[in-house]
Every structure is written in structure tokens, then in C-alpha cells.
Amino acid sequence: MIQILSLLMSVSLVSFIEYILPPILYIIVFPGLIVVLLMLFFMIWLERKVAAKTQLRFGPLYVSKRFGGVIQTVADLIRFSFQEFIIPAGADVFAYIQAPGLLMAFGLLPLIFIPVGPYYANIFPANYSLLIVVPLIIITPIYVILLGWASDNKFSFVGSMREAFLVISYEIPLILSILSMILLYGSVNAINGVSFQIGRGIPGIVLNPIAAFLFLVVMIRTTGRFPFEISEAESEVVMGPYTEYSALFFGIGMSLPYIELYSFSLLFSVLFLGGWWPIVPSAAAASGVVGGLLLPGLVVFIKALIVMAFLVFLRAVYPRYRIDQAITVGWDQAVYLGFAAVALSMALVWSGLV
């Protein structure tokens, strides 16, 4: 508080707006809440539409016929918002109500620490961004387990247990994959990683394809895409942890995987797809909001959209794995791949090739 007051006294109003605006822009508008919401609507619609096209049919259409039913998710959201909210008799009420909110909060938190432009360093402490993002990404499943525990439903419980097992088995591959990129870029600052890629002119996916592949697999697993849609497997455990949730809380629960998908995809495009390349802002432009945040951010966002579209398309191709098979992959092949990725990075760094 004192800091802000002293700041107010020391700087003029214009420079104060310049100081306060970018963080608000970053959190509220882009890549924050508003874009997340729009992305959510678009992605859920795209998933249904892409699957429908693969399956020789139309998918959502009549809700807005001219635009291919693109506002279908809005209709679903309105319906969910005004439906009766049921708390099951056996549920632990406090946990039952707070879990979806916390889930949403922790799902959105990693977005703050993923830089989408060079200007980002001016707003937030970016020096340790990767170190902060990884635990934040891993923390959300704890609240998924809380959902299942609070619901007092056997299918929720089984689904939560599945989620717990899977999270544990895919943590090491995720950390190894990011570690190999940290080794390669020589920094835990993601902005430095992007500068590294732009400077060498080679994206991370070419430098270390093993780590990229591994990250992709962990991304599919964590966001519950096919073939790893195991904790919500409909024909086995109904809706998994979300079985008892109705109305808006179910909407929150179901949108969480897409938010996770969004933060993972942003991270993927920053780490492996060259970030805001080909837009390379000059030093002067990089200190401005438009040149340093919005334009590079748009590029990252488009790259992330392509990654997300690829991942939602997997639904149309693959059935789901059994849980023990998925766990075996996580503890066995994925860990070895992770070590291979680290070894590759070390070899590249030591040999001085990059």
C-alpha cells in the first residue's frame, strides 16, 4: 500500500496508467479471463464439430445456422447457469462447494506465469517463470480428487483415484521434459528460451523432438484427451469426479480440462514452437504494450490454437487406454524417454552444436 502511495506521488498520472494497465490487460483480457472464456466456447464447439465432420455428420448447427452453430456452447452455458443446483445428501457440503472454485482458480493461475511477449518481463518477475509454472500445473488434480471425495459417490471416488494415480505417474516425465529444455536454453526464464530459439533460428521442437513429444503426451494425459480420457471414462465411471455435480459447478468442472489445455498449449508454443517468432520486436517496440505484448501474444495464441485443435481432433481417432496401461506407460517408457530427452539436451549443449 505504501509502495503504491509513494508511487502515486512520484510519478505522473500518465506513467501510472502505463504502469497499471498492462497487468490488468494481461490478467483480464489477454491471455487472461476474457480470452480464456472465448477460447473455451470456441474449443468445445470445435471439438464437437471436428468430431462430427469425421463422423460424417453436421454436429451442432441449428442454434445459429448461418455460423455453423458456433454459439452452441453459449446455449449450454445458459442452460447450466439456471438449472437447479443439487447437493447430494451424503456430500461433504463445504468441500463439495469449494472444490470447483478452487479448481478453477488453480487452473487459471499458471496463465499468469506464461510469458506471451517480451514486455511480460516488465510486469511480472519472469526470471523463474518455468519453475513456478510446473508446480502450478501439477497442483490442480488435488482438487479433482477433492471433488470425488466430497461427492460421496463410488464412481466419483473411483474416478478421483484414477486421476491421482495418473497424475503421479506423469509428473516425472513432465518435469524431465521441461528440465531438458531448461538445460538447453540455459535459463529458467521462458523469455530467454524464446530469445534462444529466435536467435538460433531453430524452434525447440527441432532441437529436442523427444522432449516435445513427451510434453505432448503429458499434455494429452493431464487434460484428459483421448486416448488418455481415463478418469472420466463414460462407459466405466460415468463422469468420474464430476458425476454428482450439476448446474454451473459442472460447467466449471468440465471447462477445467480446456483451461488446462490452454495453459499447456501456450507453454508448448513458448517452449517448443519458437514463441512469438516470426514477430521479433525491436528493443524499442518490445517496451511498448502493443509491440511487446499484444502482437507477439497473438502469434503465440494462434500457435496454441493449432496445438489445441490437433489435440481435440484425437477424440475422433482413438478409443481410450485402460488405466494400468496408461500408468505403465507413465512410469516406464515415458520416464526413459524423459532421460533420453535430458541426455540429448546435454549432448547438444556440451558438443556446442547450438
Binding site: 468430431a51 463410488k154 481415463i230 478409443p319 494400468d324 496401461q325
Partner: protein, 408 residues
């Protein structure tokens, strides 16, 4: 896990007592009937961790008492009833009942009617197998296969609709023959559909049958050995996937099958993947049979002389004009001589068994039928034990169990 009372109840127990509590490890799941992976039945599953210890299928949710109803209705009125029980597979239910009835009546259908029966039965077998493959897709989480299978059922349903005039419930086969002749140009249209089906089977191979995830999920899961299959009385494609070379079309010949050249595919593995391949192979064989039937179909009447002579002049004229059998009044007042008969027919899911008893009345004295899904019930009690919970839908889907058919 659940309510606070439970925790206080176990709070006074010692560690040993807690460790000895089987409830710690054991979980009883009630799956169904409003569960996405259950169909019209309740499956009670006792689990130790993730491993299924015991399964008790609670069926009868669609028990519509067809035997009792048929024993109180005219003979001809049992045809719609048996059809509605086996909705993906109506022609075969219809055929099995009519064969049993014809044996009671002592009527022999004409050769052309026999070929038409075979034709519709095989088209229906393909739609039934596609239905099974599609639902298997849902059980394993692939909605694409479900949609594709239901899309590819439609041209075949159109074909049979063209012959019989109905979409699902045809009531096409009547004692002495069939009700409609082939429409003009049917053979060419059927050939188009068959070629389309063959092309689609290759697509299924790409996305479903040789999909690595499907193979991981199904190979070595739910294995039924040859001796077990015989001991448990499993029937149909599931039996043949376990290596038993038995097909009712061969063993108890009916319709035009003795004149046709076809193979009975078998697999020796007996796992879910073999049962999936078995259905795909049987679709190929059915396509082969349909081609032969369309090539070899003899000319002549589609209704036997016994029934034709009982038609009135208007009906006879209608038959000559449109090659269509209007129901003769005789059908409504059939009184077979006292006696008994049995009939077996190979339906899409296995052998339908009929046992009819007449005491000379206008309604059957005893109407007994056993459907293939009912005979496949041991899949729940025997095959699922020792598998993972996630294998339950995999085995269920591979057995192509259809609850309304089992409950009758």
C-alpha cells in the same frame, strides 16, 4: 471415504482390526440401469482394488413376458412380438418362429421364398453386426466407430426396407413364404451397397480393427477357451471366436443355406479381439452369401401352394399384379394339429431356439424361445472375473450382449 459416521464407527478399532476389514479393499459397484456402460440391466460388481472378484448380472429390466403373451394370442400375432424383442435382428427372430410354426403346420415354403428369406436374413445379420461393432466403439470410447457403423447400417436398412416396406420391424416372413417379391432393379442397387460396404470395411480396419489402442485394450482380455465356451453354452460369433466350428446354418440347415457356398470363420484365441475380428469376417461372408443369392435366386411363387389356394380371388389378383401377399383369412384362424416342434436359427448374436406346442387351439399351448443373448449371460458371471474394472465394458461390448433380447 464417505460420511463422518463411518469414520467414527471405525475409530475405536485397533490397527489389526482395521487391516482385517475387507471393506477397506472391497468395493461393490452397482452399474446400471442408468449407467452409460450398462445397457438395460444392472451389473453388481464386487471389486478388490481394481480387480473384479464377482459379478452378478441383474437382468429382467426389459422382461416383457413374450412367452405368456404369445400363449394368449393368435399364432400369427406372435410375429410382431418376437420381432420387438430382437430389434437389431428382427428377420432372424421372425424366421425362427415361422420355421417352428411351419413345422407344426406341415407347410413347406417355395424355393424362391427360401432364397428371399436367406437374403433378408443375411442383410439383417450385417446390420446386427454393425450395431454390435458400433456399440463396442462406444464402450471403448470411440464415438467415431459408433457413428460410422450406424451410418453404414442405413443403406442396408434401405435395401431391406425396399423389399419389405418397413424400417426395422419387417414382419416379412409368414408361414409358407414371404410377403413381398424383389422390386425391379433391386439387384443392381444391392450390388452398389455391397461394394460400398466392402470399401468401408477397409476403413474400419484402419481406424478401429488395427488401431493400436484397440489392440492393446482387447488382445488377451476376456479369454474364453474352447472347452469353457462349450461348457458354458456360449453361442454364435462368440462361440466361433473361441475356436468351436459350429454354425446353426450348417448344423441344422434351414432356408436356402444347404444350396449355398459359404465359409464359417473361426478364431482360436477366444479374446475380445478375436470376437471383434469374427464379426468383421462374418460380414464379409454375408456379403458373399448375398451375392450368391442374388445370382442363383430361382423363379416361381413366393408363397407355397397351400397358402395360395386359401387366398380369395381379390388377393390372388393382387398377388399376380404386384407380387405381394395380402394376409389370407386363413392366417388369422390357423389351428395347427396337436403336436410339438422345435426350430433353431442362426441369428446375428447366435442360435435362437424355438419350442412350440399346439393342442389344436387357435393359440399356442406352449410357446418357448431362448435367445442368443440369454445364452451368452455367462460372459458376466465367468469371463469378467479376474479382469480390471475397465475391462468390463470391453468384454461386455465384445460379447454383443443385447439386454432386451436376453430378457424377452
Amino acid at each position: 471415504m464417505s460420511a463422518p459416521q463411518d469414520r467414527t464407527a471405525t475409530a475405536n478399532l485397533t490397527y489389526d482390526e482395521l487391516a482385517g476389514l475387507k471393506a477397506d479393499r472391497e468395493l461393490v459397484l452397482l452399474i446400471g440401469p442408468a449407467h452409460p456402460g450398462s445397457g438395460h440391466m444392472k451389473i453388481k460388481v464386487w471389486m478388490d482394488g481394481d480387480i473384479i472378484q464377482r459379478v452378478d448380472p441383474d437382468i429382467g429390466f426389459v422382461h416383457r413376458t413374450t412367452e405368456k403373451l404369445s400363449e394368449n394370442r393368435l399364432y400369427i400375432k406372435a410375429i410382431p412380438i418376437v420381432e420387438r424383442v430382437m430389434l437389431p435382428d428382427t428377420i432372424n427372430a421372425n424366421l425362427a418362429y415361422v420355421i417352428a410354426l411351419e413345422r407344426l403346420l406341415g407347410i413347406e415354403p417355395t424355393p424362391r421364398a427360401q432364397y428371399l428369406r436367406t437374403l433378408t436374413s443375411e442383410i439383417n445379420r450385417i446390420t446386427s453386426h454393425l450395431y454390435g461393432i458400433g456399440l463396442y466403439g462406444i464402450f471403448l470410447g470411440s464415438s467415431t466407430v459408433y457413428m460410422w457403423a450406424f451410418a453404414d447400417r442405413e443403406p442396408l436398412i434401405d435395401l431391406i426396407e425396399e423389399i419389405s416396406g418397413a424400417r426395422i420391424t419387417y414382419s416379412y416372413i409368414i408361414p409358407g413364404g414371404v410377403r413381398w417379391d424383389l422390386p425391379a432393379g433391386f439387384k443392381e442397387r444391392a450390388e452398389t451397397v455391397l461394394q460400398y460396404m466392402e470399401a468401408r470395411l477397409k476403413d474400419y480396419g484402419k481406424i478401429w480393427v488395427r488401431n493400436p489402442v484397440v489392440m492393446d485394450r482387447t488382445e488377451g482380455v476376456g479369454v474364453v477357451s474352447k472347452s469353457d465356451a462349450i461348457r458354458l453354452g456360449i453361442t454364435g460369433p462368440n462361440l466361433r471366436a473361441s475356436g468351436v466350428d459350429y454354425d446353426t446354418r450348417r448344423a441344422k440347415p434351414y432356408a436356402a443355406y444347404p444350396n449355398l457356398d459359404f465359409e464359417v470363420p473361426t478364431f482360436s484365441e477366444g479374446d475380445c479381439y478375436a470376437r471383434l475380428l469374427q464379426r468383421v469376417e462374418e460380414i464379409e461372408q454375408s456379403i458373399r452369401i448375398i451375392r450368391q443369392v442374388l445370382k442363383d435366386i430361382p423363379d416361381g411363387r413366393i408363397i407355397s401352394d397351400d397358402i395360395y389356394s386359401k387366398m380369395n380371388p381379390l388377393q390372388k389378383r393382387m398377388y399376380e399384379m404386384k407380387h405381394r401377399v395380402m394376409f389370407p383369412a386363413y392366417m388369422a384362424s390357423m389351428r395347427p394339429a396337436a403336436g410339438r416342434s422345435t426350430a433353431s436359427v442362426e441369428a446375428g448374436r447366435g442360435e435362437i431356439f424355438f419350442y412350440l406346442v399346439s393342442n389344436g387351439d387357435k393359440v399356442p399351448f406352449r410357446f418357448r424361445w431362448v435367445t442368443p443373448s440369454f445364452l451368452n449371460l455367462p460372459f458376466f458371471t465367468h469371463v469378467m472375473v479376474g479382469q480390471h474394472l475397465a475391462d468390463l465394458p470391453a468384454i461386455y461390448g465384445s460379447s454383443d450382449y443385447f439386454p432386451p433380447e436376453a430378457d424377452r
